[in-house]
Every structure is written in structure tokens, then in C-alpha cells.
């Protein structure tokens, strides 16, 4: 489990610990233990369970989110709800004298405030999510499944692309224009890896992924197919338009200079491409295989030309 985000929330954790300690000191100093026979263990299990669960929610919220307004609101809402629940839970074990009866009266007051805060937080979370979705539009289209993304580039994985191609093929007879697929491959990537190491190779892949994502349209989907090979799905796009888009993406990639981590190296790379337009007779595996064969052909052609000029 990656606990790095937890370190960002030291102040929130401190507030939480102070709050819990004060509640415990307050209730235990004013209250008296009811006695073993008077404790209703069903209530203890139920209320204890709810208190423990809200603690787990607070933990995961802090673990998964960076600092910010939405995190603060979510934390505040949950912490206040947890306060009510803790009071309710301790109530099962202690009873208060008549002068301190206000403690059991107020126990349910924080909960609604906590819920109101949570509701406001969820509204802001929704707004935040809409803006993130906008940034991710070329990476995920309609469906989110974190196991289908590629750890190195942050793009969708080959499995996700296959499922999307399948979907588009099923929709093909309803749409006016078919879709096209563009495959991009970094020339001499293995040589780059051998020369500069895998860490730099992975960095190059990440930056390549960003350049491609910046240069595609809103409706296109980018994935890392495998190794140094990327696929861009171009929905509702005929081959002629796809060719124009392809050359603009290739232009951007070949103009992009890669700077190594220690800034000692600037590297420009060539790109091989392959383009196919889908027809209703195609299958997902057939299309991908056609695309890959096209790429190999272009690669060999390029190498042959290179040898000739050399």
C-alpha cells in the first residue's frame, strides 16, 4: 500500500487525534462504568462497528487524496460524524450523573452537521471530478477500470483498447462513418534503452504518451499497446482524414526533443506508423494484426531506404 499521501495530512491527523482524546477524557472523567451486567453487547457491536467503519473511511480519504478544499471538507464531515458515533459508543459503557446528562443529550447533534458538510464536499468532489474527466478524456472514453491502465505511461492498456475496438465494431453498422486505427512505434527504441537505460526509456514512453494525448482530438482514445507501440483510435473518421491526423501527430512527435533526467542529453526520435480503416467485416484481432503487419512493412521499408542512403 502506498502511504505517501498520508504524510501530506499531518495537521488533519493531529486535529483528529486531539478531538478523539478530548472526547475520551471528557466522557470517562464525567461518566461512571455501568457494570458488566448492564452493557447491551448487541448495541456495542452495532455502534462499535459503525464507529470503526467511519474511521476506515477517514483513513482511505486521507490515503487517496492530495491536500485541498475537497479533502478538508470530506475529512471534516467524516470526523464530525465519527464524533457523534464515538459518543454514542462510549454511552454503552458509562452512565452520567444528572448534572452531566447533557453529554448524552448532545451526542446526536454533531452527526447532521457532519452529513451536511459531507454533502457539500461530495458536490465539490463532483465538480473536481468533471474537470479531471476532461483531462482524462483521451485516456479512458466512457469506462473507468483502474486495472486496465498501463503503469508506465498512465494510458489505457491493450485490453482496454481491444474492448473499445470491439464496441466500435458492434456500433459500425449504425454509424455513418467507420473508425480508423493508428499505430505508432518509436524507431530504434531498443537501442535507446540499451544506450541510456530502462529508466530513461520509461521516461521517454511517458513523455511520448503526453505528446500524443496533446495532439489528438477530444473523441480519440490513446493506449499503450505494448512495449514502445501506441494505438490511437479515431472514431467516426475516414481514412483520408485519419491520414492528415496521423501526419500531424507524427510531426509533433518527431519535433519533440527528449531531455534526459540529468539534462546531459537531448534526443529526437523517428516514428513508424500504420493506419487502417475498420469495415463491418473486420474482427478486433484481425484489425490489430493488419495494423501490426502494416507497421512491420513500413519499418522494413524505412530501414531499407536508410541502408540505401547510407
Amino acid at each position: 500500500m502506498n502511504l505517501s499521501f498520508l504524510k501530506l495530512h499531518r495537521s488533519l491527523l493531529l486535529i483528529f487525534v486531539v478531538m478523539q482524546t478530548s472526547v475520551l477524557i471528557l466522557t470517562l472523567s464525567f461518566g461512571q462504568y455501568k457494570g458488566h451486567s448492564e452493557v447491551d453487547w448487541f448495541d456495542v457491536a452495532g455502534e462499535g462497528g459503525i464507529t470503526a467503519m467511519t474511521l476506515v473511511w477517514i483513513f482511505f480519504i486521507l490515503l487517496s487524496r492530495p491536500k485541498g478544499r475537497v479533502t478538508n471538507l470530506l475529512f471534516a464531515g467524516l470526523a464530525i460524524m465519527n464524533l457523534s458515533m464515538t459518543l454514542d459508543f462510549i454511552d454503552e459503557f458509562v452512565s452520567y450523573s444528572d448534572e452531566q446528562a447533557w453529554l448524552s443529550t448532545i451526542e446526536s447533534i454533531p452527526a447532521p452537521f457532519g452529513m451536511i458538510l459531507m454533502t457539500i464536499a461530495l458536490y465539490h468532489w463532483h465538480q473536481e471530478q468533471m474537470s479531471i474527466n476532461q483531462q482524462l478524456r483521451n485516456r479512458e472514453r466512457f469506462y473507468r477500470e483502474h486495472q486496465l491502465s498501463d503503469a508506465i505511461s498512465g494510458l489505457a492498456s491493450a485490453d482496454y483498447m481491444k474492448s473499445q475496438i470491439n464496441r466500435e465494431l458492434n456500433l459500425l453498422h449504425h454509424s455513418q462513418h467507420g473508425f480508423s486505427l493508428l499505430m505508432l512505434d518509436i524507431a530504434q527504441f531498443d537501442r535507446f534503452n540499451r544506450q541510456f537505460g530502462d529508466a530513461e526509456g520509461d521516461k521517454l514512453l511517458q513523455e511520448f504518451a503526453q505528446v500524443i494525448t496533446l495532439n489528438v482530438r477530444e473523441q480519440d482514445l490513446v493506449c499503450r499497446y505494448a512495449s514502445d507501440c501506441f494505438i490511437v483510435m479515431l472514431p467516426n473518421t475516414q481514412l483520408a482524414i485519419a491520414e492528415q491526423l496521423s501526419s500531424s501527430i507524427v510531426g509533433a512527435l518527431e519535433a519533440f526533443s527528449f531531455n534526459s533526467s540529468d539534462s546531459t542529453l537531448t534526443y529526437k526520435q523517428k516514428v513508424h506508423t500504420s493506419l487502417v480503416a475498420a469495415t463491418s467485416a473486420d474482427s478486433t484481432s484481425g484489425l490489430l494484426s493488419k495494423l501490426h503487419q502494416g507497421l512491420l512493412k513500413n519499418k522494413h521499408l524505412h530501414e531499407y531506404c536508410h541502408e540505401q542512403t547510407a
Binding site: 486495472q147 498501463d150 503503469a151 508506465i152 492498456s157 491493450a158 485490453d159 512505434d185 531498443d190 534503452n193 540499451r194 530502462d198 520509461d202 499497446y225 505494448a226 512495449s227 514502445d228 507501440c229 484481432s285 490489430l288 494484426s289 501490426h292 512491420l296 519499418k299 522494413h300 530501414e303
Partner: protein
């Protein structure tokens, strides 16, 4: 990789014998996985290894442990890329590296690998055949393929190694051809992009083939003097012990008519111990015999295009009906069906 049948039976290694040099493959695999978000503790589960052992250089691992590592990889690596990535790095930290970078042809590379299968390369062994201008290498796992997961991982690992070596020394893999014993996997994209060669699946054997021209092509950046120097330093390295299962397989290939008792006697074991050793390698005597016959039958039928009669006599069958029945047991299909399948591919 080794093809010579050894009669020396004193120095053999089993699947649980510590294998010199295998730890550098395991360490690279653990780091590759870690970099892709798989926690080393998850990856090393059940291997009795700790991640810190790799950095300290104290981990000497057996083939069984390496196989366990492969199974864990398959469980956590959703994209099935680790076998291919490791395949490109098999020569890192290996004494063979300098000889590989100086060898004058693929033929010479292959000979180096046969002569000195150092630091893990004794996991694989190959039978070399030549037919109509092409060289064929039927590759077997020297310590056995304990299950389909491990078999697939090892095939991908070795195929990726061959493809990367060809690309490194020749520049392209267009003439390279791979046959895999299992059906086309879901992660076919890894085969396409990492191997960039002709791949066939459901072929009943793991085989690599290359044309005469490419096999003997002179590699321009080779240096004979440096090669000699590298070979001399390789010569000083202790050779790994012969894998016991490989020795058994080679003996059965040479003496197909001998039964379990005779073979066990040759390996100086009681039949019960012999069976127990085979079981430790997740195989049985009849399975080994069937596997050897299947490979010969499939190769002779698909590549040499032999008739049923010739094939039956090669495999010492006097009766065609018996041969067909045995063929079906080995391959799950009849000789004529297999020919039809090949034509339709």
C-alpha cells in the same frame, strides 16, 4: 543450451539444486516488477527469498524457486510483459555478454551457447535440425515445464531473448520464425511488438527457425581477436552441472525401446527413486516418452512433410493402425487432421 548426450552421471543438477547465476535473472525480474507497481514481497511469496538478498548478493536460487517467481509474475502482471522484458536482459551480468557482442555470425552465437550455457542458460536446451535452407531449433526446458504457466513464461522469455539478440546483432527479425506449443494467448500484442517475427501457435512444440542466409551472415561489427579473448575468459568459468532431466530425456531419445527399469538402472537409481525424481520434476516416464515422440512426429510431419509410413518406421512402429493411435495420444489429433490444420493456417 546443450545438445550433447552426456554419460557422466556424477555431476547432475535437479530442479531444487541451487543454480549459479540464476539470481541475476531473478533480481532483474523483481526490479522490473517493482518498477511496474508490483510489490517485491508479493512477487517473492513462496520462494523463500527476500528482496534484500538480491542487493546483498546472498541469494543463490534453484530453478524451482525461479519457476515459483514466474508463477507469481503471471498472477500480478496484468499485461504479461515481464517475461518479454526480462528476455531482453538475460545477458546482463552474464560472462557470455562480451563473446555475444563480438561473435561473427548467429551460428557462432549458437555454438557459444551450447558450449557454455552459463548463468541460467542451462534452463534451455535445443535439438538442431536443418531442412531445405532453414535451420530449426526444437527447444526444451532442461528442468521440465512444471505447468502450463511456467512453460509459457519460459517460451516467452527465451523467444524474447532470441529476438532481442537478433535485433541487436543483425538489426531486424524479419526472417525469424517461432512456433509455440500453446494456443494464441490473449496478450498477443506482446508477441507482436517484442518479437516482431512470424509467430505460430498451437504447434505442439516450441521451435525457432532461421534461414541459412541469416544464420551464416557475417556480422560486420565483430572482432575475431576480441572474440578469442572473451572465449578464453568463458573457458575459465566452471560449467554448470548437467540437468538430470535433460540427461534422462537424451538417454530415452537415444534408446527409445528401453523401459523404466533399464533407464533407472543406467542412472544408478532404483525404479522407485527414479519415479520419485521424475515426480519432483512434475513428469512421469510415459509422459517423457510421449513428449519426445510427439516432437519428432510433429516436426517430421509438418516440416519434413513425411508420409505416415516413413514416420511410423522412423518411430519404430510396424503397424500403421498402432502408429495412428499413438499419434492421437501424443497430439490429440490424427496425422491427416494435423496436415489439414496446417494447410488451413
Amino acid at each position: 543450451m546443450s545438445t550433447n548426450v552426456s554419460t557422466k552421471l556424477t555431476d547432475v543438477s535437479y530442479i531444487d539444486t541451487p543454480c549459479q547465476g540464476l539470481q541475476s535473472w531473478a533480481a532483474q525480474l523483481a526490479d522490473l516488477a517493482k518498477h511496474r507497481g508490483i510489490h517485491p514481497d508479493k512477487l517473492l511469496k513462496g520462494t523463500k527469498l527476500f528482496y534484500q538478498d538480491f542487493a546483498a548478493g546472498t541469494a543463490i536460487i534453484s530453478v524451482a524457486q525461479f519457476y515459483q517467481l514466474q508463477e507469481n509474475c503471471r498472477q500480478f502482471d496484468n499485461q504479461h510483459q515481464l517475461s518479454f522484458l526480462l528476455g531482453r536482459k538475460l545477458l546482463n551480468n552474464n560472462p557470455l555478454y562480451s563473446a555475444f557482442s563480438q561473435a561473427e555470425s548467429l551460428c557462432s552465437l549458437q555454438k557459444i551457447l551450447i558450449r557454455a550455457p552459463l548463468h541460467g542458460f542451462n534452463l534451455f536446451n535445443a535439438t538442431h535440425k536443418h531442412h531445405q535452407g532453414r535451420h530449426y531449433f526444437i527447444i526444451n526446458l532442461s528442468f521440465g515445464a512444471i505447468n502450463t504457466l511456467v512453460e509459457q513464461f519460459c517460451c516467452e522469455l527465451f523467444a524474447s531473448f532470441i529476438a532481442a539478440t537478433c535485433k541487436w546483432r543483425i538489426g531486424n527479425n524479419s526472417d525469424l520464425s517461432f512456433s509455440f506449443p500453446y494456443p494464441e494467448p490473449k496478450h498477443i500484442e506482446q508477441y507482436q511488438t517484442n518479437l516482431q517475427a512470424n509467430c505460430k501457435f498451437s504447434q505442439q512444440l516450441f521451435m525457432v527457425s532461421v534461414s541459412d542466409e541469416l544464420y551464416n551472415r557475417h556480422l560486420i561489427d565483430s572482432c575475431p581477436s576480441l572474440l578469442q579473448q572473451s572465449l578464453a575468459s568463458i573457458g575459465q568459468q566452471p560449467l554448470p552441472a548437467k540437468p538430470w532431466l535433460q540427461a534422462v530425456r537424451e538417454y530415452i531419445t537415444k534408446h527409445p525401446q528401453q523401459n523404466l527399469e533399464t533407464v533407472a538402472h543406467y542412472f544408478a537409481m532404483s525404479p522407485a527413486t527414479f519415479k520419485r525424481k521424475l515426480k519432483q520434476h512434475h513428469t512421469r516416464f510415459s509422459t517423457l516418452q510421449d513428449c519426445i515422440n510427439r516432437q519428432t512426429a510433429v516436426f517430421n510431419l509438418t516440416t519434413l512433410a513425411q508420409s505416415n509410413e516413413t514416420l511410423a518406421s522412423t518411430l519404430n512402429f510396424t503397424d500403421l493402425t498402432n502408429f495412428r493411435r499413438a499419434f492421437k495420444r501424443w497430439t490429440g489429433t490424427t496425422p491427416s487432421n494435423l496436415r489439414c490444420q496446417l494447410k488451413s493456417m
